[in-house]
């Protein structure tokens, strides 16, 4: 994800060495790695497809990208290769299913991650909070308490353009974004449960005032496309007490400030009434072979080295993600780290549907239906009308074309 950091380059060089050793027929095959900024990925895919040139042999994809990109005819069918790959059976089944349309697999999961809530142990201690909140009511009262103890800070960041966090609140009230019924998507943003989640999130700004106005129109990382000035920076600087993101944020938080690093910790996003956390969106990245690659065999063989349980786990750990292999996840490594413990707990309660449907990329990344709805609500738009409008749009987009 993003432009490279040294640990990624070191890891990749090691992988290429293993690839050459394991597959002598490709001993002299040169592997060129292009590290591209995460925000450029769809533009680069589009350019490769339209020009027919400069396409990769292997590409990383966000797991919500994969179904849409596969539907554009960009990815090679790797069903047979996955079946005959010994490690394939150990992959978390639900995540492999995300890369499968019908019975055809277009990619394999590489690493995964869930969002939770970052907080600071020193702030919780001084405010007299001894345990993480497990209900929404506790979450808000904790946020207000922290704001009182730390004047000039905000309690909990709620950026409007942050679908992957908002869905946790919809799910955490027992709602659904959309459900599949008889081969059709039925959007459920305006069910009473979903509306409770949407309203709670909007009210973090509107009525509870624990989130500042400046996060309206922003993602968790600031203005869309910008690389500075978001809730992540405010948390690292100490002007935001709690903020929603995944464990992978640690690297960028550290770049902003290490002043409070020793006190960083996490807990899962609470559900409306507890005690179990709200389901977290099972995010992550996949590896796919490009449909127009001239070197599909070598490409797949390299994928199996990059995604071997040992290599994938090393990579995931170094970047703050979780490996996608059941055997690795159940080892006790993750629960012992304060930062990872909350996220590891959240990883036990995940959901991905409908974020893995073919048209989700259009609904969210392109049409930004949920962000636009949340932004309008935070600007004070009529609640029922705004949610109904988004619901209709979502259902239309999800049912575009054949599933």
């Amino acid at each position: 994800m993003g432009a490279s950091v040294p640990s990624q380059v070191t890891w990749m060089n090691g992988v290429v060495g293993q690839f050459h050793a394991k597959f002598p027929q490709f001993k002299s095959t040169k592997v060129v790695v292009d590290w591209i900024p995460w925000g450029n990925r769809t533009t680069d895919w589009t350019n490769a497809l339209t020009s027919g040139k400069g396409g990769p042999d292997i590409t990383e994809l966000g797991n919500t990208d994969t179904p849409g990109v596969a539907a554009q005819g960009a990815l090679a069918n790797v069903t047979a290769q996955v079946k005959s790959w010994p490690s394939g059976a150990d992959l978390i089944a639900g995540n492999l299913a995300n890369d499968t349309i019908g019975t055809t697999s277009y990619a394999v999961p590489w690493f995964g991650g869930v969002r939770g809530i970052w907080y600071r142990k020193d702030q919780f201690a001084r405010a007299g909070l001894t345990s993480a909140p497990t209900t929404w009511a506790q979450l808000v009262s904790d946020a207000k308490l922290l704001m009182k103890k730390y004047p000039g800070t905000y309690g909990l960041g709620a950026p409007s353009n942050y679908t992957n966090a908002i869905v946790s609140f919809i799910w955490g009230a027992g709602g659904q974004v959309a459900v599949s019924q008889g081969g059709k998507w039925v959007a459920e943003l305006n069910s009473p449960q979903s509306e409770a989640g949407i309203r709670f999130y909007a009210d973090l700004y509107l009525t509870e005032h624990v989130s500042p106005a400046k996060y309206i129109g922003q993602t968790e990382l600031g203005a869309p496309g910008a690389t500075s000035g978001g809730s992540d920076e405010d948390f690292a600087k100490g002007t935001l007490d709690m903020y929603i993101d995944g464990p992978w944020a640690q690297a960028s938080l550290t770049q902003v400030s290490t002043k409070y690093k020793a006190d960083w910790a996490s807990f899962p996003i609470p559900s409306e009434n507890g005690p179990s956390p709200a389901p977290a969106f099972a995010g992550g990245s996949d590896l796919g072979v490009w449909a127009r690659s001239q070197n599909k065999t070598a490409a797949w063989d390299l994928v199996t080295v990059m995604d071997s349980p040992a290599n994938a786990t090393t990579f995931a750990n170094s970047q703050g993600f979780f490996p996608e292999f059941t055997s690795q996840l159940s080892s006790g490594v993750y629960t012992s780290s304060p930062i990872l413990a909350g996220f590891a707990k959240a990883a036990g309660f995940t959901q991905i549907s409908p974020l893995n449907s073919k048209n989700w990329g259009v609904a969210d990344a392109t049409d930004a239906i949920i962000p636009t709805m949340m932004k309008a609500l935070m600007q004070g738009a009529n609640f029922a009308a705004t949610v109904d409008k988004a619901n209709t749009e979502l259902q239309n987009v999800l049912n575009t074309g054949s599933e």
Binding site: G39, T42, T43, W45, T46, L49, T50, G52, G68, Q72, G73, A74, N161, P212, A213, K214, Y215, I216, G217, Q218, T219, A223, P224, G225, A226, S228, G229, E233, A291, R292, G361, V362, A365, T366, D367, A368, P371, T372, K375, A376, Q379
Partner: protein, 314 residues
Amino acid sequence: MPLGTRAGAFVRRHRLAPYLLLAPALAGIALVLLWPLAQVLIFSFQNYGLPQITGAAPTQWVGQANFAATLADPEFWLSLRITVLFAAVAVPLTLIAGTVVGLLLNRLGKKMAAFVSTAALLAWATPPVSASVLFYWLFNPDGGLVDWTLSKLPHALVGSTDWAGFNWTTTGALQAYTVLTMLVVWQAFPFIAVTTLAGLKTVPAELYEAARVDGAGPWRVFWKITYPLLKPIFLVLLLLSVIWDFNVFTQTYILTGFPGNRDEFNLALYMYDKAFGFPPSYGLGGALAVIFTVILLVITVGYVRSSVRQGALT
């Protein structure tokens, strides 16, 4: 008679020389302008997108479906409204600021005029990307100069808003386009000023002298002498400004967060998003380009007609 001479006679007899001289330029324009225009028109009636380019799906004629989809999209009407309102504010401000500075330049001494026009032209010459980034930082909620200044001013003067963290660019169209208006006017007025100045230099000084002797103030002098004489120039500047302000893309793209806030789209951003968002739809993009061109043509034709009728453009 040798062949060359005979051909020469043919050209002379049919008065073909002007057309022959025009031919290379016309061929060039056809290649780089007319052919792409035709292509866009063709796309606007097709379902042309990535699967069609890669060959995964056939290209189909879809009739006026792209146009129907565009006109039925509330986001299209919202972006059109934003575009029109923005132009309605930015164009007059640009013209007024430009004209006033032009009049000022005409009255300044040589050195001061050189200084003022250089300063103004620097704003005009600043690349839109640099200017947008500059304004992005000026109006940044995290320590931007404008927010900082506003937060230091007494509440009685600027209201009790939390100016220190006021997010101008992404929280709503009104805030974003307030900044964009300042940015666009700042970059566009120098051209108006210099053009007005050039026009003013052609007005005979005796006219102003006579008016002053008759006791006319500056306001009257402007409306009775300067404006009627420079009307053709003002009409062209008005037309150019409308076209430019309808087309503002770079600044809106950067300040509203790289197509991330759809409620702040103007037509240019909306078109970009439809054509090049993922998955791209060149068909919809083509239809939008056609609609956009028609809107601008209507404005242009309207102004040219009215100005020809008034004898301003001859």
